[in-house]
């Protein structure tokens, strides 16, 4: 496309300003994580200082950030694995088999995306409550409890994304293997999975990001044993002062893995964020 020079310069200026609007808060905030406590809130901000890791040390060990990190990892990875185990076969079926209700079911799956978390979070709490009181089955504040709950937003997404990846492959691929002596599952395992593997990884990463950033359901259903990193971030707002250095250390721990994953995944990002509606 031919773009007039003036137009291009204008575009650059605006986009660079937008980029600065993104970078300044993110970087300036993150820098605070490395500031010694005494200049956390200096005004005007101090930019030249000797970076320290004491905030991370405090957050990680004194405030048991490692525990929250571990919990976050267990919950995120666990729920993504479960979502994949349940969702990948379903996605395969939606991509491959023509059956009467397939279209309606897929539309229903998208509509799950609109359900606000409070609508399921609240009854979840009540259900867990009655389970615990009535049957003595404790799901509140347990990893399985949270992992099941997270399926409300992960599973539909996995199915939609993976369906897209499966649909891109010719059905003849596994049919060929089936004619050549394999069962459907054997064909799936030996032929389709190796091909669709990058798609599974992309789906897993994107779902991991969603699970990792989740706050609301964890707030209601997690407790001591399962507190996640986002939950711990809020605890650094003390009413007399906010422990900004510690807070930004936590923020960095939450943010950095996700940004790295995003850079790896940027091409698949749209597909995941749009629920694969756009294809």
């Amino acid at each position: 496309m031919r773009v007039p020079r003036s137009e291009r310069i204008l575009a650059y200026v605006i986009l660079i300003v937008m980029a600065i609007l993104v970078l300044v808060p993110v970087l300036a905030g993150s820098v605070t994580a490395f500031k010694p406590q005494i200049i956390w809130v200096s005004s005007p901000p101090t930019w030249i200082f000797e970076p320290t890791l004491e905030n991370f040390e405090f957050v990680f060990f004194t405030r048991k950030g490692w525990l929250f990190l571990r919990n976050s990892l267990i919950i995120s990875i666990g729920s993504v694995v479960i979502a994949l185990i349940l969702g990948v076969p379903a996605a395969y079926a939606f991509a491959r088999f023509r059956f009467r209700s397939s279209k309606a079911l897929m539309q229903w799956l998208i509509s799950l995306r609109m359900i606000p978390p409070i609508v399921v979070g609240l009854p979840f709490y009540a259900m867990f409550l009655y389970l615990e009181r009535g049957l003595g089955v404790g799901l509140r504040d347990t990893f399985p409890g949270l992992i099941i709950t997270y399926q409300t937003f992960l599973l539909p997404l996995v199915i939609w994304m993976m369906r897209g990846y499966f649909a891109e492959l010719p059905a003849a691929m596994e049919e060929s293997a089936m004619v050549e002596g394999y069962t459907r599952l054997g064909a799936l395992w030996r032929v389709v999975l190796p091909v669709v593997w990058p798609g599974i990884v992309a789906t897993a990463i994107l779902n991991f990001i969603f699970a990792w950033n989740e706050f609301f359901l964890a707030l209601i259903l997690a407790g001591n044993r399962t507190s996640t990193l986002p939950m711990s971030a809020g605890t650094y707002i003390v009413r007399t002062r906010v422990e900004w250095g510690n807070l930004f250390s936590v923020n960095l721990i939450i943010m950095v893995p996700v940004i790295v994953l995003t850079i790896i995944l940027r091409r698949q990002l749209v597909k995941g964020l749009t629920f694969g509606i756009l294809e």
Binding site: R63, Y125, F128, L129, E132, R133, G138, R140, D141, L219, I220, G223, N224, R225, S227, S232, G234, T235, I237, V238, R239, T240, R241, V242
Partner: protein
């Protein structure tokens, strides 16, 4: 046969609980003097929020001492302040034993007691009082912070009472005094009434020099109520409810107070950014020498006197909170709110954990440790600390603190109080944002009435627990425990 079965079950149950009954008499306690460490190697989980710095001091100073003395490992779980009540309620309703001890603000105790979350402490005290000394608090403070109506459920970790801080260097400066005299025709004194406060505040408000007259906070909805009442409401005679639980926020006094609270006379004395002031900002303003006077609470004192935390630490004086000059009687009316969190024991944990929790409360928040804290930081809420001559000599403000603690009025301990407080707090914030006080306060009052009605309080003829009744509860409790208290005589 059926009877036989019932008897059998009863016997089995009795057998099961027998050890508990027996155990009650012999709760082993950590004793620094004898060196007893009965709970060595155990863990204690505490749900906490670092709402004010004094709790951090406790955490930094007292907890290591307790861990050393007892061999118990303390595991803190911190939650954001606004998450604590939901956390306790959701956990407790499920009978969760996620934590042994929890941070409970006085306004929440009623709700949590109604849920059966709070373990009553009587039996622990009777079995092994340790260093707990509940009678070492003023009855007002104890009734508000440690009790849910007639039940004793906690050991206060701090008792916040209204305090008034001012800059001695400004008030004692002869030039200022002369200038004030010239301008207002009277001596420059620490204000004793609201009107004086407005006047003196206006005098010191000099934006060009980055000096402002007075500072208080607007906070989130329920905090703002606290400041409204602590600084102005009670002295004007505003109360929460009448005897039949009719809310009293639509009275003339309450509306007048709201008008003054959010009026230009007071607002204009504040540094810019007043709308966002929370505990932290107001304290910081004073500590940075930006304001001449500062309405605060007792917990802030240690920080204000800490030269590392305040550049005016050496020039900080404390006085009673100004009162309302009653035009009819000519009297200066004054009354204060007292409030604060207590550590309470989760009712759903094992008996052993309860005993460890009690061990922690009696020692780490007992007389001896409170003294250590007071010596180092100037923070105190036990009578023994507030009246100790040595400590008072070191920290003169303790006397004023004691006087305030004796007259503080507590927030209601009803299950629905958090919601009611939220409703009135919201209205006050709207007034502060320029809304019409009369309509807003009436609306809020109706909202509260609805909340109370919804809770079924008007049907069942319940009556509001007045300040005096609370004191009676406290005294009755002390009598039950075999304790004597000067204020109950």
């Amino acid at each position: 046969m059926r009877n036989f079965k019932a008897v059998l079950i009863a016997l089995v149950l009795a057998a099961m609980f027998l050890p508990l009954v027996v155990a009650q008499d012999t709760i082993p306690l950590t004793d620094p003097e004898t060196g007893a460490r009965p709970w060595e190697g155990k863990e204690l989980r505490i749900l906490n929020t670092e709402v004010v710095p004094i709790l951090a001091y406790q955490h930094e100073i007292l907890d290591p001492l307790y861990e050393e003395a007892s061999g118990v490992t303390l595991i803190y779980e911190n939650a954001a302040h606004s998450d604590v009540l939901p956390r306790i309620q959701t956990t407790c309703a499920a009978g969760g034993d996620d934590f042994d001890i929890m941070f409970v603000e006085d306004g929440w105790a009623g709700a949590l007691a109604a849920l059966g979350c709070l373990e009553e402490l009587d039996r622990f005290y009777l079995a092994a009082p340790g260093d707990s000394h509940p009678e070492d608090f003023t009855t007002r403070a104890f009734g508000t912070v440690a009790m849910a109506k007639e039940k004793w459920v906690g050991i206060p970790t701090l008792v916040a009472v209204g305090m008034f801080a001012y800059r001695t260097d400004l008030f004692e400066d002869p030039d200022e005094q002369a200038a004030f005299m010239e301008q207002y025709g009277r001596e420059l004194t620490v204000p004793a009434t609201w009107d004086e406060l407005a006047e003196v505040g206006a005098f010191f408000t000099r934006p060009d020099d980055e000096l402002y007259g007075f500072n208080y906070r607007y906070g989130t909805p329920n905090n703002i109520l606290f400041d409204y009442m602590i600084h102005f409401g009670f002295s004007r005679g505003v109360d929460f409810f009448d005897a039949n639980f009719n809310p009293l926020f639509d009275t003339e006094a309450a509306i007048d107070t709201a008008n003054f609270f959010a009026g230009q006379d007071v607002l204009n004395l504040q540094p810019p950014g007043r709308e966002s002031f929370q505990f932290g900002e107001v304290m910081q303003n004073f500590a940075q020498g930006k304001v001449a006077m500062y309405g605060t609470e007792s917990w802030a004192i240690p920080l204000l006197l800490d030269p590392d935390a305040s550049i005016v630490a050496a020039n900080t004086g404390f006085a009673p909170v100004p009162g309302w000059l009653n035009p009819e009687t000519g009297e200066i009316q004054s009354a204060l709110l007292s409030a604060g969190p207590a550590y309470m024991i989760n009712a759903h944990i094992s008996e052993e954990q309860k005993q460890i929790a009690w061990d922690y409360l009696q020692l780490a928040h007992g007389v001896e440790f409170s003294r250590i804290l007071a010596e180092q930081t100037g923070a105190g809420h036990r009578i023994s600390v507030l009246t100790d001559p040595d400590l008072v000599a070191k920290w003169p403000h303790l006397t004023a603190n004691y006087e305030a603690a004796k007259v503080g009025i507590g927030r209601p301990a009803e299950p629905w109080w958090p919601e009611a407080e939220n409703a009135i707090g919201r209205a006050l914030q709207e007034v502060a944002a320029g809304g019409d006080a009369a309509t807003l306060m009436v609306d809020a009052n109706n909202d509260i009435r609805e909340i109370v009605e919804d809770a079924g309080y008007y049907d069942e003829g319940l009556t509001y627990v007045s300040v005096e009744q609370r004191e009676d509860f406290v005294c009755a409790k002390f009598a039950e425990l075999g304790l004597e208290h000067d204020e109950c005589m």
